[in-house]
């Protein structure tokens, strides 16, 4: 293979990988079952980390992780339909994540927002008005939207601005 061809391949490699990654996430977003879950802030920690909100998803299952050591982590699958803290063979809609001392995390605990609306959205989540819309398929969840007071987060932010 000539140097020119090697260079073309080296340039194409990251482009192809990034495009494949973006396409995969687009596909994930359009697949599965749509679920709406309430979210909570974890006071007194700051929910704002740069340009994104961090929160805890309230699965209405209580504290089911029972992990005490900070270094310990354990894979765990809950069931969203019917609602159960451990997914068994009867589960129709499982959601997998990781149990740690911080609770049950599925990678859905982050939502990017423009900085100018950060304070309003931060307050709304503290006031327990927030919900996330996720798509769940094969135990994997993807964040689709953030809902505040039954409105899309952008509509809500504009109305308060």
């Amino acid at each position: 293979m000539s140097r020119t061809q090697q260079l073309a391949l080296a340039i194409a490699l990251p482009l192809v990988l990034l495009a494949a990654n973006a396409t995969w996430h687009l596909y994930q977003r359009s697949q599965g079952v749509e679920v709406r879950l309430p979210i909570r802030g974890f006071d007194p920690r700051d929910l704002l980390a740069g340009h994104y909100l961090t929160y805890k998803v309230d699965y209405n299952l209580g504290d089911f992780c029972n992990i005490t050591q900070s270094t310990q982590r354990q894979e765990h699958t809950i069931c969203l339909e019917p609602l159960q803290s451990i997914a068994d063979s009867t589960c129709i809609l499982p959601l997998s994540g990781m149990c740690s001392t911080a609770g049950f995390n599925t990678g859905l605990e982050r939502f990017y927002i423009p900085e100018q609306y950060a304070q309003a959205l931060d307050q709304a989540i503290r006031d327990q008005k927030g919900e996330i819309v996720i798509m769940v398929k094969n135990g994997k969840g993807t964040v689709k939207d953030l809902i505040i007071d039954n409105k899309n987060w952008l509509e809500f932010a504009k109305s308060t601005h």
């Binding site: 090697q6 340039i11 490699l13 990034l18 859905l108 964040v143």
Partner: protein, 396 residues
């Protein structure tokens, strides 16, 4: 070209070169370094400004721009930069090639950030850096200048070190960061260096990995020196000791297999490594007691000076630096040899202030301190060359 023209005129006026030689050099330089095409540079600047404008538009209005349009705009921009890299390489424009290549590398990293933002991904920043490093490795091997290669090595090493730290938990405990990061970073940097030395295709990255290996080594040494001097003891989980031992073994294998090293170099480096590992061991050489009393430390006990951590630490540091300076001098690396010997002098001065901190604040103490500094500087200037010659003649 301006600077060489000026120099040539100066040399000609000083009769260092003849007019014929002056002319010959001018012709040679004109053939080998043709003047850069200004219009290409301006076009490149225009492309960069347009790219920045598109990214700014996306960043400022990203909430209002539909997701697919955002993605498409970003990919079109990145692809255009990628094509520019290839075109500039074909037209043998080294400066433009290098600039766009660096821009493309940074653009790929920005693209990972944009995808995370658009899809609200909860991944860790260090995994993003590592993924970027892996996907852009083939491209960075085409870089001809140090900047792109150094940028790549620095970012990828950061991603790699933090990813290894996060193997046990993505929320890395601060105790692990404080206690493990300096040594782990150093060991990974050394392994990366040997990887770039032993793999011919990666050899262009070896100067950057060498830089990080030496810097992280000095940081790891200074860090543990400071900790021990203060009488602090660290104790981390057993799997970190095992990880460090495994990595140290790999480093040892790298030292043994390096054909550039003589037996003396290998022995010196392996001794430095073992001494550094002893340094990090919480109880093997240290007990948490200091001989001198510092305003920040209350660990002073009635122990012999040779048992105290704040005496053992500088001695161990000086020993490690001394052995490493012999290795550097033996290899004929004068700059590194000079830096290491200066650091030895600095550590000696710090030891003096440790012992006589209170006295140094008095007029008499200041006179002694000044005299010590003058003596050290004089000794370094007078004996450095002799010492380096001695190290170069050493062999096993």
């Amino acid at each position: 070209m301006v600077s060489i023209d000026k120099k040539l005129k100066q040399w000609l006026n000083a009769n260092l070169i003849t007019p014929e030689q002056h002319q010959a050099i001018e012709i040679f330089e004109a053939e080998h370094h043709p003047p850069r095409k200004l219009w290409v540079s301006i076009m490149l600047l225009g492309v960069a400004v347009m790219g920045l404008g598109i990214i700014s538009l996306i960043a400022a209005n990203w909430a209002f721009v539909p997701l697919l349009i955002k993605l498409a705009l970003a990919f079109i921009t990145l692809t255009a930069v990628g094509i520019s890299v290839w075109v500039l390489d074909q037209h043998s424009h080294p400066l433009g090639f290098e600039t766009t290549l660096t821009g493309f590398l940074v653009g790929c990293l920005a693209m990972i950030g944009l995808i995370s933002q658009l899809f609200h991904l909860g991944g860790q920043w260090y995994h993003a850096l590592l993924a970027w490093g892996i996907m852009t490795l083939p491209l960075v091997l085409f870089a001809r200048r140090l900047l792109a290669r150094f940028l790549w090595v620095s970012i990828t090493l950061t991603g790699l070190v933090w990813s290894v730290l996060a193997l046990t938990s993505p929320n890395i405990p601060s105790t692990v960061i404080i206690q493990v990061l300096p040594l782990l970073g150093f060991l990974i940097a050394v392994i990366s260096y040997y990887l770039t030395v032993f793999t011919p295709k990666l050899s262009s990255l070896s100067s950057s990995t060498l830089f990080w290996m030496q810097l992280s080594g000095l940081v790891a040494l200074m860090y543990i020196d400071g900790l021990r001097t203060l009488g602090e003891q660290n104790n981390v989980a057993i799997y970190w000791y095992l990880s460090i031992l495994i990595l140290s073994t790999l480093v040892g294998i790298g030292i043994i297999l390096n054909r550039q090293y003589s037996l003396l170099n290998r022995v010196l480096l392996l001794t430095c490594l073992v001494l550094l590992l002893f340094y990090y061991h919480p109880t093997l050489l240290f007990n948490g007691s200091t001989y001198y009393e510092y305003f920040w430390s209350t660990n002073t006990q009635n122990i012999a000076w040779w048992q105290a951590d704040d005496i053992r630490a500088p001695l161990l540091s000086l020993l490690i630096l001394g052995l490493y300076s012999i290795h550097m001098g033996n290899l004929g690396l004068s700059t590194s040899f000079n830096i290491i010997t200066i650091l030895m002098g600095l550590r000696f001065i710090v030891l003096y202030f440790q012992a006589l901190g209170g006295l140094a604040a008095t007029g008499f103490g200041l006179i002694i301190s000044g005299a010590l500094l003058i003596t050290l500087a004089w000794a370094w200037q007078k004996y450095r060359a002799q010492w380096q010659r001695w190290t170069q003649e050493l062999s096993l």
